[in-house]
Symmetry: C2
Subunit: 113 residues, 2 copies
DNA sequence: GCCGTACTTAGCCAGTAAGTTAATTAACCG
DNA sequence: CGGTTAATTAACTTACTGGCTAAGTACGGC
């Protein structure tokens, strides 16, 4: 699993870690703050944070004995980039739906005449 | 890892499986066709396909002894949906970059006077 | 009906992942 | 210095993953 994108996806493949990211989307937080909602030991959360950090999904600074975590959006952006290559596969269908809706609307107007 | 999104991300966390999806983005393919580019036994590929199928990233039909695989874009769409909640985090920065570039352009004009 | 092709299942093994508790490091505070 | 809080590391268990080979199933064709 050496490659970066695999590491990113693997890090995202855990509900606890995604919940941590969701929390961090609202701003920085310390390890204890992040651990609080989970029914899990602190070392377990610490491990999850290490996984997220290695995957560059978060970064950590140091303030006294606290290690505030911050979300690294750029890495999520690369996931978005990967997805981008496939986006047309479902957007085309949406386009067709929109076309269809547009058609309906036109037909409505036609009928009103 | 019971939840769907985790299963999806886990399935995507493997370069072989992502390569298979990339191939399928170009159209249906049989197991042997999909296996061909990989230096890996057929059962190994079969397992990867099972992972992708369980994650609903592909589906399989049956034509004689062939089991053509097809990409299921809807599941990728749900990944896109999840990402959507974070998109503003990097797009804001892009906006600021665009603002900055706009400023530069304006300054250029200012200088031309 | 039997052979070949396409693919899956079974059983095995090595490596990794996710959790635990206990011990350790690091920093501040009195 | 000694105690408290914050967080990590160590050591270990258990479960899953990804690969293999070998055997089994399913189908079409001669």
């Amino acid at each position: 699993m050496t490659d970066t994108l695999s590491e990113t996806f693997a890090a995202l493949a855990d509900p606890t870690r995604r919940a941590i990211l969701a929390r961090l989307a609202k701003g920085e937080a310390t390890v204890n703050e992040l651990a609080e909602p989970f029914d899990m030991s602190l070392p377990a959360v610490s491990k999850h944070l290490k996984v997220l950090e290695n995957a560059k999904l978060i970064s950590r600074s140091r303030t006294a004995q606290w290690r505030p975590c911050r979300l690294e959006a750029d890495t999520l952006k690369t996931v978005d980039g990967w997805l981008g290559g496939y986006r047309s596969l479902w957007e085309h269908r949406l386009d067709r739906l929109e076309d269809y809706l547009a058609t309906l609307k036109t037909e409505e107007k036609e009928e009103q005449r």
